[in-house]
Symmetry: C2
Subunit: 441 residues, 2 copies
């Protein structure tokens, strides 16, 4: 495929006037952004025009493909078995990847997972893994392939060779108000996932106040766009729409989430977290040919947790990536905060929990020093939230609402104020909303 | 006035979402673009968002003011008399400035005119003046002020100190598909005109196939926006909407237009050209207090032409700016093309002229070497069109349609094909459309 030569302004004008770009024009753009032939100030004008005018499914598929081909596309053909990955648009307390990867591997599919770091109020998988002493996420493709072959699951950071056009475009979008654009989000996510060498993909598209997408219809549009791009690339993709109004599970932070994930693999996971984990992993097993249907997948996953195979996979992956696997049996080997602050209900805390605002909980993590405002910020792995009360649970004055893991009293006070703001009560039990709201395929 | 500090992306997002920017935000943008605090790639995203969402009249006034203040604002308070200028959005054969400036000066207003060079198919006033041997258009502000005081009219190029933000923004707009945007066009024109130190302004906003604005409603919107900006700046502005379907007058090019302009000042100008010139100059005289109304203005202008005062002003201005004023009496001192090519009607040329496509005539001038495709191109002053037939004139096979002034046979053949394409015939006289269609004030 050769990209013809164009004037960037002609492409900008075409999109500005609502036209659909050709495959060649999109290739010229994606390559030109990386090479500099498409100047940054022209790229951002086009990004704003795309924000305004949108893109057809065909344009999004071409953009994804062109971005993917801007760098290395990992070839995993020499790794036997079905390679299936999961991607989540991110939410507070979302540690599903840490449970799902070993669980899916224990059930017979290969999980080649490349993740990003956290930015803003949602935590990143890489940061969570790095709270395990020694755990290396920056592996070479060769190491990645070897661990995948031997263990069945590997969780690494994106190598600089993968989709350079996305790094460039994302940096430009971030400073030009063109982040919240479904075609661009879709192409960004899917180009990175398709570059991993996967056979199929399960997506967790979150919506609600704690998610990137506030409105369900936007999440639905993104899910549909991503499934469509998968279809165009010949890779089956399923997307679950999940609610992110309260944090997932009872822990948020890094160490606290690692502990909660290990508890899940030990069969002691909280209900909501397991529900999402089983749903996503189940579709991975189906796509990878390791289960006939959701019931079959569920039985296999429960067995793998009950007999310890899932935990063993986590142990193997941890060791293979240089991590101290003894943490699995001794949580005190993980970074521990200086102080635990128990947040208890006051006199008004009677009746039921009606809200646990995920966004405010995310901000509490940020306040504790457990998040990043800028990509260069260091995160404190030890701080976080545990024992978080859930929507619908009964409450009495003096009841424990959560435990804050604190390394600085001022920060702790700020975080306490935020979690107190996050949690609301009602006399009657609140109407429960389903966690998993839609399956797009 | 101090500009507060903002993040460029917040301003971009506000406009992207359809908001109106504050005066401080607009100042931050206009200053930041010149200083680099507002990166080019952020400026172009904002320009596209402005293209999409538009600007309120208040925003346009603030942007004009901020752009004007990005550089030197010329102070002409020490020049006695009313300083009135004219600006045209440009069209093929539009040499009105060359006649209007000395004519208005002869009638008692001061004309401090800064013009641009031609780009594309419409000629530039500076280029036309430079076909007069020795004529200097790049004068210092001191020389400009002196000539204005002594002669009453000076016609110069924009100094680099005037409105630097516009040069930067225009260069970015040119390569990002954000040229055809009324708020940005308005701020670009008005910031430069208000920086001249004028008291009032007359605008010629052209529309039609030979003009920058193809549609009358766009021209009307631009005219209204510019009048509004003038009001906000406390400078009375009047705008005429004029049709540009056929070239203005019978000549196009540089030397040919200078000769036609001198002919006008000698009282031998073509009807359409004089109509536009009288209308625009008349409003200048009214705004400058040199005439009571249009009828009074017309009488004064006709007298100034009849008794030679307007021609004398042209002679004085020409001499003051270093030009060889003898050209006024001896056109052979102007650059002359090697060959004159008479274009005559063929067998189908019977009846009436129904169209003289101004855009195609402009392209013929370009083909002859008399235009600029890029700002760095040199123009051939000698080539051009004269004796051009006008819409509605009767025609017979063999009748002269125009004379091409040619320096290269291949280019001449190309230009001939273009003017032949431009001119159409009909059996019945075509419906005549008024040249001046609206006055906005």
């Amino acid at each position: 495929m050769s990209a013809a030569s164009y004037f960037p302004q002609d492409i900008i004008i075409k999109k500005r006037d609502g036209g659909a770009l050709t495959r060649d024009e999109i290739q010229f753009f994606a390559r030109g952004v990386a090479s500099g032939q498409f100047a940054d100030y022209q790229a951002t004008a086009l990004l704003m025009a795309i924000f305004w005018r949108g893109m057809t499914p065909q344009e999004v598929a071409w953009l994804t493909d062109a971005m993917m081909r801007s760098g290395e596309v990992i070839d995993l053909n020499d790794v036997p078995g079905a390679k299936v990955d999961k991607h989540s648009t991110g939410g507070v307390g979302d540690k599903v990847s840490l449970i799902l990867a070993p669980l899916a591997a224990a059930c017979g599919v290969k999980v080649p997972m490349m993740s990003g770091r956290g930015l803003g109020h949602t935590g990143g998988t890489l940061d969570k893994l790095e709270s395990i002493p020694g755990f290396r996420v920056m592996l070479s493709v060769t190491e990645f392939r070897d661990i995948l072959r031997k263990v069945g699951a590997a969780m690494i950071g994106q190598t600089p060779q993968v989709v350079p056009a996305d790094r460039k475009l994302y940096a430009l979008r971030d400073v030009t108000g063109t982040v919240e654009c479904i075609p661009l989000i879709c192409a960004s996510i899917m180009s990175k996932k398709l570059a991993e060498g996967i056979d199929s993909l399960v997506l967790d598209v979150k919506f609600g106040q704690g998610a990137f997408m506030k409105r369900k219809e936007d999440a639905l549009a993104l899910a549909r766009a991503m499934v469509e791009v998968g279809r165009a690339a010949g890779k089956p993709v399923r997307a679950l729409l999940t609610a992110m109004d309260q944090p997932l599970g009872r822990c948020a932070g890094h160490t606290t989430e690692v502990i909660e994930s290990i508890e899940c693999l030990k069969g002691r996971g909280p209900r909501d977290l397991m529900e999402v984990t089983y749903a996503l992993t189940g579709h991975m097993l189906i796509l990878g040919g390791a289960a006939r249907d959701e019931a079959d997948a569920r039985a296999k996953m429960e067995a793998a947790i009950a007999d310890g195979r899932a935990l063993t996979k986590f142990r193997e992956m941890c060791a293979a990536q240089g991590g101290d696997a003894r943490v699995i049996d001794d949580y005190s080997l993980l970074p521990t905060a200086q102080k635990r602050l128990e947040i208890r209900a006051g006199a008004d805390g009677a009746g039921f929990v009606s809200a646990v605002d995920a966004l405010k909980c995310g901000h509490a993590i940020m306040a504790l020093g457990g998040g990043r405002a800028a990509v260069t910020d260091k995160v404190d792995h030890a701080v976080g939230i545990s024992d978080l009360i859930k929507i619908g649970e009964p409450v009495k004055p003096g009841a424990l609402l959560c435990t804050l893991h604190v390394n600085d009293d001022t920060k702790g006070a700020k975080a306490e104020a935020l979690v107190r703001e996050a949690i609301a009560f009602s006399a009657q039990p609140p109407k429960s909303t389903p966690l998993i709201q839609d399956l797009i395929q």
